[in-house]
């Protein structure tokens, strides 16, 4: 059944009467597949908190934010850009990388947000920009992440990337979209993106292949 959140594969029992998914990535490792035929390059993919201590720390930090938007979405702990064929680009402590959505949706509830005012060319530019960061080998910026949370008014810099600033940077550089422009969307965190009112919710479901 279509919903705004895709439960992790270890939490679902049966996909119900969902149609067969036609856009299955090669080597998809599971018998069910998200409805990738409804996902578009440039979509923002967000993951809910799992069972890790690190996730709990991010939830708590976001819950203490000055922004009511970030507080409202504090259960989302990671953000990535969908680049097509079941893949995302994200940044973790090991750097920027292209990974399968499966890396996260196996154990994390997933949700997808879409900026409505983009054409296909702009969407592809965002995806290509994200992929270009993979080849440039950007490193994760713990100092930006911690500093922007501890010091009110401090903003993450575009060269000090963590997951949500990578999304913000790709939208800004590739399509001119300023996701961070309002005070209540600064700094950008996964929680901020999940509750961002300029982003639409994409309906998701597990489908048989």
């Amino acid at each position: 059944m279509l919903a705004v959140e895709l439960l992790s594969s270890d939490n679902i029992i049966t996909p119900g009467n969902a149609p067969v998914e036609t856009n299955v990535p090669p080597n998809w490792p599971y018998s069910l597949c998200p409805n990738f035929s409804n996902w578009l390059p440039g979509d923002i993919v967000l993951f809910r908190s799992g069972r890790q201590l690190k996730d709990t720390a991010i939830v708590l930090a976001q819950a203490c934010s000055f922004s009511p938007v970030t507080r409202a979405g504090c259960q989302f702990v990671h953000a990535a850009i969908y680049v097509g064929v079941g893949d995302i680009v994200d940044i973790t402590a090991s750097g920027v990388a292209k990974r399968s959505v499966w890396t996260y949706c196996e154990h994390h509830t997933t949700t997808v947000r879409r900026y409505g005012g983009l054409d296909a060319l702009e969407r592809n530019r965002i995806a290509q920009f994200a992929l270009s960061l993979v080849s440039q080998g950007h490193a994760y910026s713990w100092s930006q992440l911690v500093g922007s949370k501890l010091i009110p008014g401090t903003e993450p810099q575009t060269d000090g990337l963590y997951c949500s600033t990578l999304v913000g940077l790709a939208y800004q550089k590739a399509a001119g979209v300023q996701l961070h422009a309002r005070w209540f969307y600064k700094p950008l965190y996964p929680a901020t993106l999940s509750e961002h009112m300029a982003l639409d919710k994409v309906l998701l479901e597990w489908r048989p292949m």
Binding site: K173, G176, Q178, W183, K186
Partner: protein
């Protein structure tokens, strides 16, 4: 004796923290033009930050800018045409009076 019971949930008495956002969402597809002042320039990042009078902050890079980042100065005024209020999409940037 009859008592009046307030049926409104307690949460509805609180000010809506997100009212500003909700009001702006209605104008999300409209095109606006605003003057913005350059507040910082980072040549090494090819990035210029400009702020409008109502605290809307734009991060601008080529090819959206009419000139290279190093040719702008802090305090300079830009005219920015953009779509939407919540996550404005920059359509055009000009130098004021240029």
């Amino acid at each position: 004796m009859q008592y009046m019971i307030d049926a409104t949930p307690a949460s509805d008495h609180r000010p809506d923290e997100r009212a500003e956002e909700k009001a702006m969402r209605k104008n999300n597809n409209e095109v606006y033009t605003a003057e913005a002042t350059v507040t910082s320039i980072a040549c090494e990042l090819d990035l210029l930050v400009a702020q409008t009078g109502d605290d809307l902050e734009f991060h601008l890079s080529p090819p959206l800018l009419p000139d290279a980042v190093e040719n702008f100065a802090e305090g300079q005024t830009l005219v920015i045409q953009y779509m939407g209020q919540l996550a404005p999409k920059v359509l055009k940037v000009e130098i004021a009076g240029g």
